[in-house]
């Protein structure tokens, strides 16, 4: 058994669009609503609220999400005064589904604005968008492309997944074809080939590449030649074997390192001058240092003997100034008091010469000693360096150099244990090193001669690179060929899939054709030409299009409607499409929202649309807004009062929101404001206005016919004047309120009253406090209490034609109106 449909029970707008103060639309007793209002009064905000509630992104189509591209952004959802007045900006709904009541609220501010669960559920039932705005109707028929229209209708038919399949399949075919045509990989291979052949070959050519490969082979062996650029070609196998042998030899770098280290130890080479043999390296340096040290030692020994009496050097140094030239000559020896003339020197001059001779001997010795010390330091440094170099050479000597390694070990051991005596014998090592460096020089020269293209390893590597390129290229060519086959196969499969989907879509389209034309004829008349929804011909590969065509005349069959139909016919066609689809597919949430849909129609067509709604959509919940008063009256004439609530917006107050003609502020609402600690001044003002307007209607007062630009509402002063005039004509005067001198009706006419809460005061304005509001409200209610039937206590009156005075509207009473003092002024 099918579940009951979703029916909207209440819709609340608070701080949303034109609605500042909360406004609830109650669909509990009458599930359909028609709102008439002039432009700019807030009627479309009702439709906006529903669009917002059901939207995925929490916005309206015309607002978008961001304030760009002339869209106002989501900021425009909230009433501009809502934040300032601390009124929450939101839309709330209550849906009924069978016995269940489902509530949901959606904030109109903030970054998230999540959709409530009930709106999710209801939106899922809208296979066709239920909101139809008059200004968008033409688009479906005229502006929309066949592809877009196909998508939209297919989604109405619940064929969204099929549309996605067709779109994805089309994209896959295009991408696959593009991949087949892509020669990027082959071009890349050509680029690498040009680089490898030093731009000898710019594009792949088997013969040219083979010829180039053989030029490389010829550089190492003229006798070899490749038959094909293949890994198993005999010539390549031979080259690979030779390269393998080459790899096992010590590399050039290793040879260079060994030679360099051996030369650091000792090397004999041709001298630059005279052509003699020169020996360099640390061993000759060590030997030279030893010779220098020996010479220094001999010199030091000799000088040390001459300066044997050097122990007196200090004495001579002290005595020298005593006997210096120009100084007073001492007569006696300053130490032993022997007269100078009696000494061995015999005179002061003799003493001076004696001192100078000894000081010179001491200086020679000091120089010899320093030379010896320097020579010793030098040889020690060279010794350390020699040990280090010998140790560095040791690990470089492989088994190929076993003899040299043995000689090195012997010499190294002797050097390490050397304490400054005779030098270890280096002759054998030096001879071996000389042989080594000569041999290494020959090997290095040979390898260097074979460097570049002539080395087997390099040649094999180059050939293998060329073979890799060939293999890669062949793989790319084969892959493209396979892709081509797959692309062809994919086209075949896509055609099969598309054909099956086409049959499916067309069969469902056919179910829509009849109801669309029924509705279309109902609006446009029975002689209206039928509309057809057609897919492209079967052989057309672009199936995802939907043509909307009309047989306009016998010689104009299957033509686009835009070129032949009138403005109203196009509107009717679009409306018929949408309504038929909604009628057929939105049964789980049978709601239709129509916002100003009759702008293109004349009176007959408007009446026809009203009749259409009355006859075809009685089981739907309709919400209609219009600024067309005639259409509003047609609706009232044709739609049942049982299900429909008809109302008007009389004006838009910037600090309140739209004012409805049937809106009533109750006493309880005012009390609730005070209870919440809020001012009720606006509510009091509205309640008093509403009461005054109702009184005018009941009494049937005479009012001035309004100017055309102010046709929708009456000012308070006009109403107050009319009531007072009416009462005066009846010979009645409204009594004063006890304790207050001002008359309510008179105050209003003077226009001195801005705030209804202060109209009984001496001062034209109250102090605005809650207590002041309550006092004023009590006074007003007392005044209102005078307008009560003296007989039955009812508050509604009527003034039937021909009667002198108004009577109670209660049919069982009909007592004549007259003022009676209220029994309970607060009642």
């Amino acid at each position: 058994m099918a579940e009951a449909p979703y029916i909207l029970e209440t819709l609340l707008l608070s701080g949303f669009r034109a609605y500042l103060e909360p406004k609830t639309f109650d669909f509990g007793t009458k599930r359909c609503l028609a709102v008439f209002a002039p432009n700019g009064s807030g009627k479309s905000s009702i439709v906006d609220a529903l669009e917002f509630m059901f939207s995925a992104d929490g916005t309206l189509d015309r607002l978008g999400v961001r304030a760009v591209d002339n869209q106002a952004g989501v900021v425009a959802l909230a009433h501009n005064l809502a934040a300032e007045k601390k009124i929450p900006s939101l839309v709330a709904v209550r849906f009924k589904r069978g016995d269940k009541k489902l509530d949901g609220s959606r904030d109109a501010v903030g970054p998230l604005r999540p959709r409530p669960a009930v709106a999710d559920a209801v939106t899922a039932c809208f296979l066709v968008p239920p909101i139809i705005r008059g200004h968008t109707l033409r688009g479906f028929v005229e502006a929309q492309k066949a592809e877009k229209r196909y998508e939209e209708v297919a989604r109405w038919l619940q064929l969204g997944p099929l549309v996605d399949v067709q779109r994805n399949l089309r994209a896959l075919r295009q991408h696959t074809k593009a991949t087949c045509m892509d020669r990027g990989a082959l071009k890349g291979i050509d680029t690498r080939l040009a680089k490898q052949t030093a731009n000898t070959i710019m594009a792949w050519d088997d013969a040219a590449v083979l010829a180039y490969a053989n030029t490389i082979v010829a550089q190492v062996d003229n006798a070899l030649s490749l038959k094909s650029l293949d890994r198993i070609d005999p010539a390549l196998v031979t080259l690979r074997d030779r390269a393998s042998v080459e790899d096992k030899q010590l590399g050039l770098e290793g040879l260079r390192q060994l030679r360099q280290t051996a030369a650091m130890v000792c090397e004999q080479k041709q001298g630059a001058v005279g052509g003699g043999i020169v020996t360099t390296g640390v061993i000759p340096e060590f030997e030279l240092a030893k010779e220098a040290q020996s010479v220094a030692m001999e010199a030091e020994a000799a000088e040390r003997h001459k300066a044997a009496s050097a122990a007196f050097a200090e004495l001579w140094t002290v005595a020298e100034p005593l006997f210096a030239g120009g100084a007073p000559t001492p007569i006696n020896c300053p130490i032993c008091a022997t007269p100078i003339v009696d000494s061995v020197a015999g005179s002061a001059e003799g003493v001076r010469r004696h001192i100078a001779g000894h000081l010179a001997q001491v200086a020679d010795y000091a120089r010899a000693k320093k030379a010896l010390d320097d020579a010793t330091t030098t040889i020690n440094k060279i010794h350390a360096r020699l040990v280090a170099v010998l140790r560095a050479l040791r690990p470089l000597l492989t088994d190929l150099y076993a003899d040299l390694r043995a000689a090195l070990d012997t010499y190294l051991g002797a050097v390490e244990s050397w304490k400054g005596g005779a030098l270890p014998d280096a002759a054998a090592l030096k001879a071996s090193l000389h042989q080594l460096t000569s041999k290494l020089d020959a090997s290095i020269a040979e390898i260097q001669t074979k460097q570049g293209d002539k080395a087997y390893g390099n040649v094999v590597t180059k050939l293998e690179h060329l073979i890799e390129l060939r293999e890669e290229r062949e793989l790319s060519v084969r892959t493209l060929a396979e892709l081509e086959k797959l692309s062809t196969a994919l086209n075949g499969q896509a055609a099969f899939i598309s054909g099956e989907i086409r049959k499916r879509v067309q069969s469902l389209l056919d179910t829509l054709r009849s109801p669309i034309n029924d509705i279309y004829r109902q609006i446009q008349g029975t002689d209206a030409r039928p509309i057809k929804l057609e897919l492209p011909h079967e052989e057309d590969t672009t199936q995802q299009r939907l043509n909307l065509v009309v047989d306009f005349a016998t010689n104009r069959k299957g033509v686009q409607p835009g070129g032949y139909l009138s403005d109203s016919q196009i509107h009717s066609l679009a409306l018929a499409l949408r309504l038929a689809a909604i009628r057929q597919f939105n049964t789980a949430a049978p709601m239709i929202v129509l916002d100003d849909i009759v702008t293109s129609y004349d009176a007959n067509h408007r009446r026809a649309i009203a009749a259409l709604l009355a006859s075809n959509f009685t089981d739907f919940q309709l919400i209609v807004t219009t600024h067309d008063e005639r259409f509003f009256h047609y609706l009232k004439d044709q739609l049942g009062e049982t299900d429909w609530h008809f109302t008007r917006i009389i004006r838009l107050d910037a600090d309140f929101g739209p004012r409805f003609v049937d809106h009533r502020v109750t006493d309880a609402m005012i009390e609730a404001r005070w209870h919440a600690g809020e001012s009720a001044a606006n509510e009091m003002r509205q309640a008093e206005e509403e009461w005054l307007l109702q009184l005018c209607r009941d009494f049937g007062v005479n009012v001035r016919i309004r100017p055309v630009e102010k046709a929708y509402s009456y000012e308070r002063s006009e109403l107050a004047a009319a009531v007072e005039q009416y009462l005066r004509d009846q010979g009645l005067t409204a009594p004063l309120v006890p304790g207050v001198n001002n008359r309510f009706l008179t105050s209003l006419q003077r226009g001195a009253i801005e705030n209804f809460g202060s109209h009984f005061q001496e001062s034209p304005h109250g102090d605005g406090s809650k207590g002041d509001e309550q006092a004023r409200w009590k006074e007003f209610k007392f005044f209102r209490g005078y307008f009560v039937c003296p007989k039955c206590g009812k508050t509604r009156f009527k003034h039937p034609f021909g009667m002198k005075r108004a009577v109670c509207a209660n049919e069982g009473c009909e007592a004549q109106f007259e003022f009676t003092a209220p029994a309970d002024p607060t009642s």
Partner: protein, 74 residues
Amino acid sequence: MREYMETTETAAAFLAALGKALTVRQGEDADLAEIVCQHILTAAPAASCVQQALEAITALAEQRASPPIAHADG
């Protein structure tokens, strides 16, 4: 409501049946049909389903273009 439920079910079921018909269709490339069914012919395709299908088709072409691997040990 009944119509809605039926059409919803039918869209997914229709695609499933269509996929089955495609794979067993005489003369069709079965590997390709499998790729199309897996990535495209589904009621809930991935956002990158076209790219995934293209990669699968390219991989299939490469696989078919590659020479068979010779095993030395037989």
